[in-house]
């Protein structure tokens, strides 16, 4: 279980509080107006931002002071998920060993996950020579390889077209099932939430509310969400 216990962050006019829990293996959308703190919520879990108050616990263990790279999670950012100067195999291989000194068995694992996302044969390509969808697949191959118990998605597919985005979400779903990961997905598109996440955390007026069933939430949105959805 991932718990936010009495969390508060304040940066000038911006505030965010959260007191909620996400069960293991859940798929949760994080929805709210832009600037409401969706990415901030993820940054707290990822360890990029220390909370001013409160604790974040994973399976009862306090994550305070644990560096981002040692947390039990993988992150996909809005962009810059790949290093442009490294090839596809290297970008994926970083998930196994950050110093890239891979043994033959590990190299084989890299090939396997690339096959799993439909990119076998692209090992030596640089990200710039791939399409947006292919770049997303490389990043997902790394997520699959790392197999961390939490997956944070900070709108990584926002720049893709609807069909491609649906395809990528489907791939995310498969990978999450395979690794048993708990997924937090930031989105500003209620259709993504409805399609992918049975549960949704609504961030409204500086408060991250505990997860509620997505369908019910969208069918009968509270006032803040109704304004946002229009």
């Amino acid at each position: 279980m991932l718990e936010f216990r009495d969390i508060a962050v304040r940066r000038g006019d911006f505030t965010l509080t959260a007191d909620l829990a996400v069960p293991d293996g859940a798929r949760v959308a994080v929805i709210g107006a832009s600037g409401s703190g969706k990415s901030t919520l993820l940054a707290l879990v990822a360890g990029f931002l220390p909370p001013d108050r409160g604790r974040i616990l994973w399976q009862g263990r306090d994550l305070a002071g644990v560096p981002p790279g040692e947390r039990p999670l993988s992150v996909l950012f809005q962009d810059q998920n790949l290093f442009p100067h490294l090839d596809v195999a290297q970008n994926v291989g970083l998930g196994l060993r950050p110093d890239l000194r891979l043994d033959p068995a590990q190299r084989q694992r890299v090939g396997e996950v690339l096959t799993a996302v439909g990119l076998s044969g692209h090992e030596r390509r640089r990200p710039a020579s791939l399409s947006g969808g292919q770049q997303g697949r490389v990043a997902l191959a790394r997520v699959l390889l790392r197999a961390r118990p939490i997956l944070l998605l900070d709108e990584p597919f926002a720049a893709l077209g609807p069909a491609l985005k649906a395809e990528m979400l489907e791939l995310v779903g498969r990978i999450a099932t395979q690794t048993g990961a708990t997924v937090l997905m930031v989105t500003h598109d209620p259709r993504d939430a409805a399609r992918f996440a049975p549960q949704t955390i609504l961030i409204d007026a500086g408060v991250a509310h505990p997860p509620r069933p997505t369908r019910a939430l969208l069918a009968d949105p509270p006032p803040g969400l109704r304004d946002y959805l229009g």
């Binding site: 990822a46 360890g47 990029f48 002071g65 560096p67 981002p68 790279g69 040692e70 999670l73 993988s74 992150v75 950012f77 810059q80 998920n81 290093f83 100067h85 490294l86 290297q90 970083l94 998930g95 950050p98 110093d99 890239l100």
Partner: protein, 518 residues
């Protein structure tokens, strides 16, 4: 506290390294300045001769800066509004004096403006009085030679910063050249020129090599040169230190001035803007062509003259010149690597947003002059190490430190971009320590590292500063060249100058090119 830092783990290490480097740098420079101040025991040791040096330093810096800035205006305007083949090459060439060894340029100026140069031959033939390249006029000539190109580049940036739409608006309103000057160009110049003047003034304030080679005597001695003379000829450490104190004061006062006037960034900014305004036709085309041609001749002629004089004598250079060249290359490489290591550590720490004081420490070398640092380190170390052992290591160290601010100007923005684009991704993948350096930092910052390393190597190669303080039987190439000049072996000195120039440019080119290919 230390245990706390260690417990937090690896992501803190770059910041710790940055703090260490910044602390060491601050301690070195401040400690050295403190040693100078302590040794000086106030300014009582200074006589009328010394105060004359102070007045000359201020006067020549002010005049050099004013001449450079004023002469640069027509050249920059011509380059801004004319397009011609070779324009890009010429603008690039304007950056070259920065890495041209000062002593080489001095050889070139002597070749053109010296007693046997073309200018004086012509004056003699015409029955006119000769121009002496030695004395205050030579010092100012050399300063304008070095700083005119810098000023042109800075003013050109100002011109290109005027939006093209504004020139189009001027055209549509039927502005003539006088109206354009009044409404567009003069306001820009009023904003840019004070910064240009101050940038040149700061450079000329710590002028040593030019004054050493062309100045001297009661009417053309700078404070830096006076430090050298007090140290080297009079063995008067107290007076050298008192002069050092004055130099620090001058630098600090100028920095105080710089806080009020924004100094434009000296290089790197895009000079390849798209089409500028269409220049006015008529006689102004000829005037612009004249400005560009005169500037190009003024800058190229000395370099070509020394090359022509030196090339034939190159094969006959004595072996000790080649030994000096090898020594200088090794020292320049050591200096460049040291500057890169220090600069990269500082830039990465600054990019992570650790304390403005780290950035301030990185810029601290601007306050210190090489001769003041050399004097101070001599005072600090003389009881511990034999002084003739100090010459080469101190030269390497001081050259690395002096090159640091220039390198940081390229490295800090690049490190900030790197941190913003890939910092979180690298953190989330636990990419840290040597692996982060090898897989992320070095590949992404290679162009800036190459550029900074090239600058540091070229500056170190051509430097004739602190080494002159110490008697040494293992001279660097610039010192060897200066010694050859001193014994009037001008053919060998010219050949030496060609060699020095070639190596300096080659070092810069190799680093810069290597960085861009990496």
């Amino acid at each position: 506290m230390a245990a706390g830092i260690l417990a937090l783990g690896a992501p803190r290490v770059p910041a710790l390294g940055g703090a260490l480097v910044a602390g060491a740098l601050a301690a070195l420079i401040m400690g050295t300045l403190a040693a100078v101040a302590w040794q000086a025991q106030g300014l009582a040791a200074l006589g009328p001769w010394d105060w004359r040096a102070v007045r000359f330093t201020l006067w020549q810096a002010a005049l050099s800066a004013a001449l450079s800035a004023v002469l640069a205006i027509p050249v920059a305007r011509a380059l801004a509004r004319r397009r011609f083949p070779g324009r890009g090459a010429l603008v690039t060439l304007l950056g070259a004096p920065f890495i041209l060894p000062v002593i080489v340029a001095i050889m070139g100026l002597i070749a053109v403006f010296g007693r046997n140069g073309v200018i004086n031959e012509t004056l003699r033939a015409a029955g006119l009085p000769e121009f002496s390249v030695y004395g205050w006029q030579g010092v100012i000539l050399a300063h304008v030679f070095f700083n005119l190109p810098l000023s042109v580049r800075l003013i050109l940036q100002g011109w290109q910063a005027i939006p093209a739409e504004r020139f189009r608006l001027a055209d549509s309103l039927g502005f003539g050249p006088a109206d354009t000057a009044r409404h567009l160009e003069r306001p820009m110049l009023r904003a840019v020129l004070p910064g240009v003047w101050l940038a040149v003034f700061l450079v000329c304030l710590t002028s040593f090599t030019v004054a050493l080679a062309l100045g001297g005597g009661p009417s053309a001695t700078t404070v830096e040169l006076a430090i050298y003379q007090a140290f080297r000829f009079d063995f008067d450490l107290g007076r050298a230190a008192a002069l050092g104190l004055v130099q620090i004061g001058l630098s600090l006062a100028a920095m105080g001035l710089a806080r009020r006037i924004a100094i434009p960034a000296a290089f790197g900014a895009g000079l390849q803007a798209a089409r500028g305004p269409a220049g006015p036709r008529g006689w102004r085309v000829a005037a612009d062509a004249m400005a560009i041609a005169l500037a190009a001749v003024f800058l190229l002629w000395p370099v070509l003259a020394v090359t022509a004089a030196g090339l034939p004598a190159l094969p006959a250079l004595p072996p000790e010149v080649w030994q000096a060249a090898l020594r200088s290359v090794l020292m320049a490489l050591a200096s460049a690597l040291l500057a890169l290591a220090l600069g990269l550590t500082l830039a990465l720490a600054i990019a992570r947003g650790r304390g403005g004081w780290i950035e301030a420490a990185g810029m601290l070398p601007i306050v210190a002059s090489p001769l003041v640092l050399g004097t101070g380190l001599f005072i600090l170390l003389r009881g511990w190490v034999a002084t003739d052992m100090l010459a080469l290591p101190l030269t390497v160290l001081i050259n690395a430190i002096m090159a640091l601010p220039f390198g940081l100007r390229a490295l800090i923005p690049a490190a900030r971009t790197l941190q913003a684009d890939f910092g979180r991704l690298a953190d989330s993948l636990d990419l840290r320590g040597p692996a982060r350096l090898r897989l992320l930092v070095l590949p992404r910052l290679a162009p800036q590292l190459g550029f900074s390393g090239g600058l540091a190597a070229a500056l170190g190669m051509g430097d004739l500063g602190v080494i002159t303080l110490f008697a040494t039987d293992s001279p660097t190439l610039p010192l060897k060249l200066y010694q050859l000049m001193g014994s009037y072996r001008m053919a060998e000195a010219s050949a030496c100058a060609v060699l020095l120039m070639a190596i300096s440019f080659a070092l810069f080119w190799l680093f810069d090119r290597g960085g861009r290919l990496a």
